[in-house]
C-alpha cells in the first residue's frame, strides 16, 4: 500500500513537472505553416486540440477572419496580436495556457511572467520566498502584507502606472530627502527630492520597493500596483553602526608588529557567547583561547601554556587582582558590562610588566560617556547588574559606576539538604572609573575596584574574601608620537576563614596581601623606524599570613601567629622596536629587577646544602623592621623579530626571560579558596622563566580570516611545589613544606578566527605538554621519586570552537564546542591490610588520566526592536550550558568505607544548565 502511494506520488510529481514545463513553454508557443490560412474558428479548435491552451473571447467582439502568415514558424501570440489588434482586441496569456482576448481592455500581459508563481523559475521563486520570510521574522519594519496602489478600473488598458508620494521620517515627522526607492523586480529606481517627494513609473502588478537612505532604516514594501496612485512612505531613523566601524578599524593586525602570544578580545565580540548562568564571564571566554587550560569546572584561575595559576597576573585598569573569581571559581570577579576589552599576553609580555612568568591578563574597562548620561544593566538567575555613566563636564570628564551583586540565595531554598538550605553564598563587585581630559595633551584616570564574597556553609565553615584596589593614571602626550604615562595603584586581597566542623577545634584565620605599584613609562620615537620605551616599575608587597585563633570559648585551638612579610620589587626597563627594513622588524628590551625581602623577620637558617627540616635547623636570624633580609637581582630580556613575507603573511620569533618573586601556597590540585601568597625569601629562591616562541600569522581572504600558528618551549626554574602530605595551614615555616623544581612545557597552537560577517567566531587546537621535575640527592626532597611528572593541568589535546551566527540584527545563535584530554590523575597501584582496614597505596604521580572532557553550549540572543528613538533597549539571552548533559569527570577517587573500597567519579555540572538573562540599556540598539 505504501509503495502504491509512493508510486502515485512519483507519477503525480512527474505529471506536475511535465505540465509545468509545457506551461512555461506556452509563452513561446510557436506554430507552423500547418496553421496558416485557416478560418479563425478552425484555427482555435486546432490549436486547442494540439496544445494545452484555452481561448476565452466573445465571438461578437470581432468578425470571422482567416489567419495568414508568411513565416515557417511563428509565435502564437504574435499571430494573435497581428490579427486582432485591428479590432481593438487585446491578447493576454497566462501561465496556465489561458489566452484571453478582450475588446478595449488590456489584461496586463506583463504580469504573466511574475504574477503567477508557477511561471517564475524555481530558484528565483525560492529566493523571493526567503526574502518574504525574512520580512516576517526579522523586523517589524519589514511589512509583509501587500499595499494596494490604485484601482483595477483606473488601470484598465494601461500597461504601466505611476506611484508618487512623500518620504517622511515617522518619528520626527521630517521629510526625508535623497532616499532611494528601488523596485527590486525591475531594478528601476528614483531618489526623493528636497521636498521628500518621489515619482516612479512601473509596470502594473506586484512590486517590492526598497527604500534606503543614509540616516533612515532600510525598508521594503510590497505593493500591488493597479493604477497610478499615491503612496507616502513613513520611515524610521537608521541606527548607525558606528561601533562596528570602530571595531573593524581597531581590529588588531596580528601579522604586523613583533608581539606574539597575544589574544585580544573585546567584550562586544564575545557578547553572544553562551555562558553559564547567564553571566557573561570574560575569564570563561579566555579559557576558550588556545593555550589556556584549567584543572576543571569550578577551579579558580587558569593555566597558561602549561604554567601554574600563580604565574598569571591580572590587571584591571592597572589594579592587580589576586583572586579573580567569585564563589571560588564559579564566576569571574569582573562585571562584563564595564569591561571594554581584555588582552592576554602569553609570550613576550611587554616589558612594563614583570613579576609573573606565564601571562599578563590585562583588562581595560570602559570610560564613562563624555557626551550624555546613560545606564545599562541586567538580571540573570544569579546576579543583578547596573552600570551608570555620564559626563561630569561635557566632553571633558566622565564617570562610570558599575555594580553587580547576587540578589538572593533563593535557589538554596529549593534544596532539601538542611546544611545547604541554611547556607549562604553571596558576592558582589563595584567598579568606578573617573576620567578627565582637560586638554588634548593630558588624560587623567581614577579607578577603583571592590569585590567581595561571603560563603557560609551552615555549621561547618565560612569563607569571606575581598579584593579592593584603586589606581590613578596620568597620560601626557608631548606630541603625536611621544608620550608619558604615570600610574599608581594599590590593591589588597583579604581572606578569612571560620572552621567549625569540630567544635572543640574550631578556629578562625585571616590573611591578607597588599600590592602597591608605581609605574612610569616614556614612549618616544627618537628617530625614524625606532620606537623607544623606557621607565620604572616598583611594587611593594605586604603579606600578613594571619593568626589562627579559637573561634569559640569551647575551642582548644591555640593562637598561632604565622607572621607578616614584605618585599619590594623594583625594575628599570628599556626597549626598542626597530624597523630594519620594510619587512623586517626587530624589538628588544631589558628589564633589571631588584627584589628585596625586608624584616621584621625571624629567619631560619639551615645547614648548608641539607634539606630544610627541623633537624637541619642551625640558627634563627633576627632582622629588624625594614632591614633587608635578602636581595635578589635578575635581568629580564625580550627579543623578538618579525619578518613580513607579504602584507598579509608574517613569521615571528621571540625569546624572553622573566623573574617572579611571589608564589602561591596551595597543596590542592584545583586551587582551593584558602590558599596563601608567599614571597621569595631567605630560603626560597625567585622563580625564573624562559620562553622561546615561533609563529606564523596570516590574514586570509581579504582579512576575513585570521590564522595564527604558534609553537613554544618554556623552561621555568625554582618552581615551588608542595611536599607530599605537607601541612600548609598551621605552618610557620613553609620552607619546610615546599620544594623547588623545574617546569618544562612545550606546545603548538593553531587559531583560525573570523571577526566579521554573519558567521563569526574562532576555532583552535592546542597540543601541549607540561611536566614538573623535583629531584634532589636527598630522598625527602624528591617528589614522585625524583622522576618528572605531568602537571595537574596537562591536557595534551584541546579543541575549542566558538561560533556566532547572526540571523539578523536582532536574532543570533551562538555555540561553543569544547574538548580536551582528561587531566592527569594519580590512581592507587596496590592495596594492603592494616588490621581489618583495606588501605590503598599510590605511587607514580599523575600517571593516569580522567576521562576526556567534552561540552557543547548553545545560546540564543534576542535583541529588542531597532527603533532609534526609544528610551531603552533590551536583550534576552537564553543559554544552555552543557547541552548534551555529559557528566564530565572533575575527578575520580577511591574511598574505603566500612571495610570495602569503591571508586567514584565526581562531575560538577552533570546536566544541561538552562538560564535566561535579561539585559537592558538606555538608548537604542547601538547606544553605548
Amino acid at each position: 500500500m505504501k509503495k502504491l502511494i509512493f508510486l502515485s506520488f512519483l507519477i503525480g510529481l512527474w505529471f506536475f513537472s511535465a505540465a509545468q514545463n509545457s506551461y512555461t513553454k506556452d509563452f513561446n508557443l510557436t506554430i507552423s505553416q500547418s496553421y496558416n490560412n485557416l478560418p479563425w474558428s478552425q484555427f482555435v479548435q486546432k490549436i486547442e486540440r494540439n496544445y494545452p491552451v484555452h481561448f476565452y473571447y466573445q465571438s461578437s467582439d470581432f468578425p470571422e477572419f482567416r489567419i495568414s502568415f508568411d513565416e515557417d514558424s511563428i509565435l502564437l501570440k504574435k499571430v494573435l496580436t497581428d490579427h486582432l489588434l485591428q479590432y481593438n482586441v487585446f491578447v493576454a496569456c497566462d501561465a496556465r495556457g489561458n489566452i484571453f482576448l478582450t475588446k478595449n481592455i488590456s489584461i496586463s500581459t506583463q504580469l504573466s511572467s511574475r504574477f503567477f508563481k508557477a511561471s517564475i523559475p524555481e530558484d528565483e521563486a525560492e529566493e523571493e520566498d526567503k526574502t518574504n520570510a525574512n520580512f516576517i521574522q526579522t523586523t517589524k519594519e519589514f511589512i509583509a502584507q501587500t499595499i494596494i496602489v490604485g484601482t483595477k478600473e483606473a488601470g484598465v488598458n494601461k500597461r504601466t502606472a505611476t506611484v508618487r508620494g512623500i518620504a517622511v521620517n515617522g518619528m520626527t515627522g521630517q521629510i526625508v530627502e535623497g532616499a532611494t526607492i528601488v523596485d527590486l523586480i525591475s531594478g528601476k529606481g528614483v531618489v526623493t527630492d528636497e521636498k521628500g517627494s518621489y515619482r516612479i513609473t512601473l509596470n502594473k502588478g506586484k512590486h517590492v520597493l526598497k527604500i534606503s537612505s543614509v540616516n533612515i532604516l532600510e525598508k521594503q514594501i510590497e505593493i500591488d500596483l493597479r493604477s497610478t496612485g499615491t503612496l507616502d512612505l513613513l520611515l524610521d531613523d537608521k541606527i548607525i553602526m558606528l561601533q562596528d566601524v570602530i571595531v573593524s578599524a581597531e581590529r588588531d593586525n596580528k601579522v604586523v608588529g613583533t608581539q606574539m602570544g597575544l589574544d585580544k578580545v573585546s567584550t562586544k565580540n564575545v557578547k553572544k557567547i553562551p555562558l553559564i548562568f547567564g553571566e557573561k564571564d570574560i575569564i570563561k571566554v579566555a579559557m576558550l583561547l588556545p593555550g589556556v587550560q584549567t584543572v576543571g569546572e569550578g577551579a579558580s584561575g587558569f593555566n597558561v601554556r602549561g604554567s601554574p595559576t600563580d604565574q598569571n597576573l591580572f590587571y584591571i585598569n592597572n589594579v592587580p587582582i589576586y583572586n579573580t573569581s567569585h564563589v571560588s571559581g564559579f564566576f569571574s570577579a569582573f562585571n562584563s558590562d564595564v569591561v571594554d576589552e581584555f588582552s592576554l599576553f602569553k609570550s613576550n609580555i611587554p616589558l612594563q610588566y614583570g613579576g609573573r612568568l606565564s601571562s599578563v591578563f590585562e583588562i581595560k574597562t570602559k570610560t564613562g560617556n563624555k557626551d550624555h548620561f546613560t545606564a545599562r544593566g541586567g538580571i540573570g538567575p544569579i546576579t543583578g547588574r547596573l552600570t551608570v555613566e555620564g559626563p561630569l563636564k561635557k566632553d571633558k570628564s566622565s564617570f562610570l559606576i558599575g555594580v553587580r551583586s547576587t540578589y538572593s540565595d533563593w535557589i538554596l531554598n529549593f534544596v532539601k539538604d538542611p546544611i545547604i538550605k541554611n547556607s549562604t553564598a553571596q558576592f558582589g563587585d563595584v567598579v568606578t572609573n573617573f576620567s578627565f581630559q582637560p586638554n588634548d595633551k593630558n588624560n587623567l584616570n581614577v579607578f577603583t575596584y571592590l569585590s567581595t564574597d561571603k560563603m557560609d556553609l551552615y555549621t561547618q565553615s565560612k569563607y569571606d574574601y575581598q579584593n579592593f584596589g584603586a589606581s590613578a593614571g596620568w597620560k601626557h602626550f608631548f606630541n603625536n608620537q611621544n608620550s608619558f604615562e604615570l600610574s599608581v595603584a594599590h590593591s589588597g586581597y583579604q581572606f578569612s576563614e571560620e572552621n567549625s566542623q569540630l567544635e572543640v577545634a574550631s578556629y578562625e584565620h585571616n590573611n591578607q596581601l597588599g600590592h602597591t605599584e608605581l609605574k612610569a613609562i616614556f614612549k618616544i620615537v627618537p628617530i625614524e623606524n625606532h620606537k623607544l620605551q623606557f621607565g620604572i616599575n616598583s611594587t611593594l608587597y605586604t603579606i600578613d599570613k594571619g593568626i589562627y585563633s579559637p573561634l569559640t570559648g569551647v575551642s582548644l585551638i591555640d593562637y598561632i601567629d604565622l607572621g607578616k612579610e614584605k618585599g619590594l620589587e623594583s625594575a628599570l626597563f628599556v626597549s626598542d622596536e626597530w624597523k630594519i627594513k620594510e619587512n623586517v622588524t626587530l624589538s628588544g628590551g631589558l628589564r633589571y629587577n631588584l627584589f628585596t625581602y625586608f624584616g621584621e623577620q625571624d629567619v631560619n637558617q639551615y645547614a648548608e646544602g641539607l634539606p630544610y627540616t627541623e633537624d637541619n635547623l642551625i640558627d634563627v636570624l633576627h632582622f629588624k623592621n625594614w632591614e633587608p633580609v635578602k636581595t635578589y637581582a635578575g635581568l629580564d630580556y625580550r627579543l623578538a623579530m618579525n619578518y613580513l613575507i607579504n602584507d598579509n603573511i608574517s613569521i615571528k620569533a621571540a625569546y624572553n626571560r622573566l623573574h617572579q618573586f611571589i608564589y602561591m601556597l596551595s597543596n590542592t590540585i584545583a586551587v582551593s579558596p584558602n590558599y596563601k601568597w608567599k614571597l621569595s625569601d631567605y630560603n626560597t629562591k625567585p622563580i625564573i622563566g624562559d620562553q622561546v616562541t615561533l609563529g606564523f600569522y596570516g590574514n586570509l581572504l581579504q582579512n576575513r580570516y585570521e590564522l595564527s600558528v604558534e609553537t613554544y618551549y618554556k623552561f621555568s626554574q625554582n618552581v615551588v611545589e608542595i611536599k607530599d602530605g605537607a601541612n600548609l595551614f598551621f605552618n610557620e615555616n613553609t620552607e619546610q613544606a615546599t620544594l623547588q623544581g623545574n617546569l618544562n612545557a612545550y606546545g603548538f597552537e593553531v587559531m583560525l578566527k573570523k571577526n566579521a560577517g554573519t558567521l563569526s567566531g574562532w576555532i583552535n587546537y592546542t597540543y601541549s605538554n607540561s611536566s614538573v621535575l623535583v629531584d634532589s640527592p636527598f630522598a625527602e626532597n624528591r617528589i614522585n621519586y625524583g622522576d618528572p611528572y605531568p602537571s595537574n593541568y596537562d591536557k595534551p589535546h584541546a579543541f575549542n570552537l566558538v561560533a556566532n551566527y547572526d540571523f539578523s540584527r536582532r536574532y543570533a545563535i551562538s555555540g561553543n564546542v569544547v574538548y580536551s584530554t582528561g587531566r592527569p590523575i594519580t590512581y592507587p597501584t596496590s592495596i594492603y591490610y592494616l588490621g581489618e582496614i583495606p588501605t590503598l597505596s599510590y605511587s607514580s604521580r599523575n600517571a593516569y588520566r580522567i576521562p576526556d572532557y567534552f561540552r557543547v553550549d548553545l545560546s540564543l540572543n534576542i535583541e529588542g526592536n531597532l527603533l532609534k528613538r526609544k528610551l531603552g533597549h533590551s536583550t534576552w539571552a537564553l543559554s544552555i550550558y552543557n547541552v548534551l548533559g555529559r557528566k564530565n569527570a572533575f575527578s575520580v577517587y577511591f574511598k574505603e568505607t566500612e571495610g570495602s573500597i569503591q571508586a567514584y567519579k565526581l562531575s560538577i555540572f552533570g546536566a544541561p544548565i538552562f538560564s535566561v538573562s535579561y539585559n537592558f540599556k538606555l538608548g537604542n540598539y547601538a547606544s553605548e
Binding site: 569550578g298 597543596n667 592495596i831 599523575n846
Partner: protein, 412 residues
C-alpha cells in the same frame, strides 16, 4: 564531606532548581601490575603480650587480598639490648611468647625483619610513652548527612571520646575501638536431627529429637575491632587534651544496635611519626571526594630496607602505650523498630527431608524450629503450627561470628 557539600553549595547556588553535580560509581581501568611491596602491621604496647606482627605483600588494586610473607625472621629489640625473636603462628602472622617480652613505659623499641630472600629491614627506635587516661566515652543521637548523592542522611549514634590532660603538650593519640554486641537467632531451636531416629509425633513425623533444655544457641555476643582509624594530635591546642572527639557512627538501621551494644576504647599514645602516618592515611582516604583535593602519594611506614632506603615499605610497627576507657553500653532508642529478618521458615516436607538427606554426618546436629502462622484459608483465623526448616545461621547464632558465652559485664 564538608568539602563535598561546599561543591554542592557552589553548584546548587549556581543553578536553577536542581543540583547537577553528581557522584557516581566508576571503576577506571587500572594497571594490574603489582609492585608487591612489603607491608608490616604490628605493635608493641604496655599491655601484656603476646604481641603480634603481620607481614604481607601488597596485592593488586583490582583484588584486595592478604598475601602473607612466611619464614621471615622477626625480632623486637629494646634500647636496653633485650630482644625477642617472634615465631610464625600462622602464615604471615608472627607472635612473641606469652611469657616473653613486655612493653615497659619509658623504654624504646624497634623491629628487625629479615625476609627469606635475604633482604633486611629495620625501624627506628620509638619510645613507649606514658599513656594518657580516657576521661569519658559518650554517645549521642545524631544525623549523619550524606557525603554525596549516592548516600542518604542517616540517623544513629555518634560516639565520642575525651581524655584527661596529657603531661606533654604535643601528644599524639590513636584509638582502637572494640565493639561487642548482643544478637539473637531469628528462630528458636525446637527440634534437632542428630542422625538417630526418635519418637514421631503429630508435628514431628520425621522422628527428630525435641530439645528439652533452653536454646543455648539463641543468644550470642560478638566482639570485634571497628574497621576505622582514629587519630588526633594536640600540637595546635592550647591544652593537650582531647575533648569530645567524634569516633565512629552507627546508624539505627544497623543490626548491631538491635539488642544491646557496647564499646571499649583503647587509647594509645604514639610517636609523632606514627601519628603523621595515620593522619596521612586518613586524609588521603577522606579528602578525595572534594572539589579541592590534595595529590595522593605513597605513604610509607617506619620500616626501611637497611641497604636501600628508597625501597618503599608500607604499614607501621607501632610502639603504643595504651589505656582502656570506661566501657560504654547502649541500645537503640525504643522508637526504633527492627523487623527485617532475612530468614524464612520452610514447612514443606521436601525442605525438611532434603536437608536431612544432604547434610553430612560430621555437620550434625541439624536444627529445626517450630512456627505458628495465620492460615489464610482458615476463615476462623486459626493458626497453623508446623515444624520448619530454617537456614542454620538463623537458628545457631554462633554461625554469625559471635559466641554464645555471655561476657561478664553484660548484665545491665
Amino acid at each position: 564531606m564538608q568539602a563535598n557539600r561546599y561543591i554542592q553549595l557552589a553548584a546548587i547556588f549556581s543553578l536553577i532548581f536542581f543540583a547537577s553535580s553528581c557522584v557516581e560509581e566508576y571503576w577506571p581501568e587500572l594497571s594490574t601490575n603489582n609492585d608487591q611491596l612489603l607491608v608490616i602491621d604490628g605493635k608493641i604496647t604496655n599491655f601484656p603480650g603476646p604481641y603480634t606482627v603481620k607481614l604481607s605483600s601488597a596485592s593488586s588494586i583490582n583484588e584486595a587480598l592478604f598475601l602473607p610473607i612466611s619464614q621471615a625472621k622477626v625480632i623486637i629489640i629494646d634500647n636496653q639490648g633485650n630482644q625477642e625473636s617472634l615465631t610464625e603462628k600462622s602464615p604471615g602472622t608472627y607472635e612473641t611468647r606469652p611469657d616473653g617480652m613486655q612493653g615497659i613505659i619509658g623504654r624504646s623499641y624497634k623491629i628487625k625483619v629479615e625476609l627469606n630472600s635475604g633482604k633486611a629491614y629495620e625501624s627506628q627506635l620509638e619510645e613507649l610513652k606514658k599513656p594518657v587516661e580516657v576521661s569519658e566515652v559518650s554517645v549521642e543521637e545524631s544525623w549523619q548527612l550524606a557525603g554525596n548523592d549516592l548516600e542518604f542522611d542517616r540517623e544513629g549514634y555518634q560516639f565520642y571520646v575525651s581524655s584527661k590532660r596529657a603531661d606533654i603538650p604535643q601528644t599524639y593519640f590513636y584509638w582502637e575501638i572494640e565493639e561487642t554486641y548482643e544478637y539473637h537467632s531469628d528462630y528458636e531451636i525446637i527440634f534437632l536431627y542428630d542422625g538417630k531416629p526418635h519418637d514421631s509425633t503429630y508435628f514431628n513425623p520425621y522422628r527428630l529429637a525435641q530439645t528439652l533444655n533452653e536454646d543455648t544457641l539463641f543468644y550470642c555476643w560478638r566482639t570485634q575491632n571497628i574497621a576505622e582509624r582514629f587519630s588526633y594530635s594536640t600540637e595546635y591546642l592550647s591544652i593537650p587534651t582531647v575533648n569530645k572527639l567524634p569516633l565512629h557512627f552507627i546508624p539505627f538501621s544497623d543490626e548491631r544496635l538491635k539488642q544491646k551494644y557496647s564499646i571499649l576504647v583503647k587509647q594509645y599514645t604514639i610517636s609523632e611519626e606514627a601519628y603523621t602516618f595515620m593522619d596521612k592515611l586518613d586524609q588521603q582516604n577522606n579528602n578525595q571526594e572534594a572539589l579541592f583535593t590534595t595529590q595522593p602519594f605513597q605513604i610509607r611506614g617506619n620500616l626501611k630496607n637497611i641497604e636501600d632506603d628508597t625501597e618503599p615499605v608500607l604499614g607501621y610497627f607501632l610502639v603504643a602505650s595504651g589505656s582502656y576507657g570506661p566501657r560504654l553500653l547502649c541500645k537503640a532508642p525504643a522508637r526504633i523498630r527492627y523487623n527485617n529478618t532475612k530468614c524464612t521458615a520452610d514447612t514443606s516436607v521436601y525442605a525438611i527431608t532434603n536437608n536431612i538427606r544432604i547434610t553430612p554426618q560430621e555437620s550434625l546436629p541439624l536444627y529445626f524450629t517450630f512456627v505458628y502462622f495465620e492460615n489464610p484459608d482458615n476463615s476462623m483465623g486459626e493458626a497453623i503450627e508446623a515444624l520448619a526448616w530454617v537456614r542454620q545461621d538463623c537458628l545457631d547464632c554462633t554461625r554469625k561470628g559471635g559466641s554464645n558465652i555471655k561476657p561478664e559485664y553484660w548484665d545491665w
